[in-house]
Amino acid sequence: MFRQSNVLPGFNISLGFTIFYLSLVVLIPLSAVFLKSFTLTWDEFWAAVTAPRVLASYRLTFGASLAAASINAVFGLLVAWVLVRYEFPAKKLVDALVDLPFALPTAVAGITLATIYAKNGWVGQFLAPLGIKVAFTPLGVVVALTFIGLPFVVRTIQPILEDFPKEMEEAAASLGATRVQTFVMVILPSIGPAVLTGFALAFARAIGEYGSVIFIAGNIPMVSEITPLMIVTKLEQYDEAGATSIAAAMLVASFLLLLGINLLQAWSSRVLPPAAPDQLEEPA
């Protein structure tokens, strides 16, 4: 069953290395999390992962991540669209700016965001009279997660959009479709799987984010504490088993969510068969 003929030999050794490498880098550290949490009894474990403060942090982490990833899916698509479709001065610069959240130390991002969104900050001073408080509220968490998630969406959609044949839009127009119909019926379904992938990546990144959030969140118990912060708090109290229990719960939840998104993606790419190579060719 594992025998495969291929022009390039080395299936066995490369598969062996892949499993070894993944074990070393991913599986062993993760299983340590579970093993450590097993030092607790089931009741203790359950109490640790369902404490009210912890439950509130789940809601914030997953809720804010979902909101941030959704915002990024929409506006990231817009940014990618503008970068691919239009020519404008300093386009390369704008293109490079998109990657900044990748490179910036997250703590720097967090402090910066907290400063400008604070009541007397550059942006916060205009929002405060409207009764909108961003810094030190759950809203601030969403802002920080949106910031760090943007490049994932843009960079996933961009190449797909670049490959999208212009002829297909022209065909839709010649058949009488309006611009909105062309976008909704022709373009969006073609780039849908890419948007979903970008969304999943941004979502996954947001769930695990720590550095940028803790500065802007304010970390008020039951209101603006994120789950990674709960874990750190437990560790600071030398409650390692408690910390790993929450980590394990989070791991399972994230895994299930990502699995769900992957299945959704597999389904959508079955519905949208991949482009035949000759449809991607540029007309001569």
């Binding site: 044949p165 002829e167 127009a173 010649s174 058949l175 009488g176 949208l272 068969p273 991949p274 449809q279």
Partner: protein, 367 residues
């Protein structure tokens, strides 16, 4: 329903894609725009479709009674491609790959405004009728990626026909297909056109395709129209050296015309139906390889056989003129090749049975 193209000009930066093109496409005609790549034929087609905007000129579309303006440069009137009701077929099919064949063909009907949209039942009936017309109704539930190139192009055609276009425009429709499928599909397109009689314009760089399929052929070069005519007119009476050269292999001789004779090198060849000029005029003579006769001791130019290659029923012969003025290509029927016992390195006589003479100075410069 006819199209009138009047003085259309299009520039891309410093490049003159179209220089004052005038063209009339008659009702129910099938017209081929023929030319080498970069001659502006695709640009012209896209301008008629509304996918490209000309810099100046006019495009009129004449329905049954009064005309409808599609583009007018002076008062900058330009109808969007959506409103022109043209069916456009792309070289690379441009099928919607996330939709089944059925949904692709139904697209044009489904995007109509609610008040004009047919019911799903009518759409289904119409789409299946079109799929039967292109003989692919058994593929309705497949996706474009699962079809061959020829099938995809037929689906693309069915999709374009679904909106009942006033005009059908095809941009190198068979350009991406292999030779066998190409030949099959162009005959099929001709039959389809005879059945539907929708005014059609198609772009091609393949002279066989244009001559075989079209009612009239428009030969273009460097943004200008060189000649418009039926395939026979174009082939038998090319207006310019360019048209002559573009339609097939040619031999070119330089010489003089006087007293109804072509003087090429040492040979004098009688010109049929050519007015005898009093003074000798410098001229260029064109002839096709299959119009050249080889003999051992007849009239014509002396040339040495360089090589010969059998191709089906003919033998393609390469010769070198003895007077050193270049090479000649000839196509000789296989029987006469064998009967006359020609062989390599032999010196034989080359006699052009038909010569096309161009004496006008401007056409001489054009080559």
């Amino acid at each position: 329903m006819s199209i009138h193209v009047k003085k259309i000009v299009k520039r891309f930066g410093a490049f003159n894609a179209l220089r004052e093109i005038d063209l009339e496409v008659g009702e129910g005609e099938l017209i081929a725009l023929l030319g080498p790549s970069g001659c502006g034929k695709t640009t012209l087609l896209r301008i008629i479709a509304g996918l490209e905007t000309p810099d100046s000129g006019e495009i009129w579309f004449h329905g049954n009674e009064e005309g409808e303006v599609w583009f007018h440069g002076d008062d900058s009137k330009c109808q969007h491609v959506r409103e022109r009701q043209v069916g456009f077929v792309f070289q690379h099919y441009a099928l919607f790959r996330h939709m089944t064949v059925f949904d692709n063909v139904a697209f044009g009907l489904r995007v109509r405004p609610k008040s004009e949209r047919p019911t799903e039942a009518t759409i289904k009936e119409k789409v299946m009728e079109l799929l039967r017309l292109v003989q692919l109704d058994w593929l309705a539930e497949r996706y474009p990626a699962q079809l061959s190139g020829g099938q995809r192009q037929r689906i693309a055609l069915a999709r374009a026909l679904a909106v009942e276009p006033k005009v059908l425009l095809l941009d190198e429709p068979f350009g991406a297909l292999d030779a066998q499928v190409r030949k099959e599909l162009r005959r099929w397109l001709r039959r389809l056109h005879d059945e539907l009689h929708v005014t059609s314009v198609f772009v091609t760089h393949d002279q066989d395709e244009a001559l075989e399929v079209a009612d009239r052929v428009v030969v273009m070069n460097e943004g200008r129209i060189e000649q418009i005519g039926t395939p026979d007119e174009i082939y038998d009476h090319p207006a310019t050296p360019f048209v002559y050269q573009f339609l097939g292999d040619v031999n070119l001789f330089h010489g003089r015309v006087s007293d109804g004779h072509a003087h090429i090198g040492a040979a004098a060849i009688q010109l049929a139906g050519h007015e005898p000029a009093d003074t000798a005029v410098a001229a260029m003579f064109y002839t096709r390889p299959h119009d050249i006769e080889l003999s051992h001791d007849g009239g014509g130019l002396e040339a040495r056989i360089q090589g010969a290659r059998r191709a089906g029923g003919v033998v393609k012969v390469r010769l070198e003129r003895i007077d050193g003025h270049g090479a000649v290509e000839a196509e000789v029927p296989r029987e006469s090749w064998e009967a006359e016992a020609f062989c390599e390195d032999q010196v034989v006589r080359v006699y052009p049975k038909r010569l096309k003479v161009f004496t006008a100075p401007e056409t001489a410069l054009a080559t």
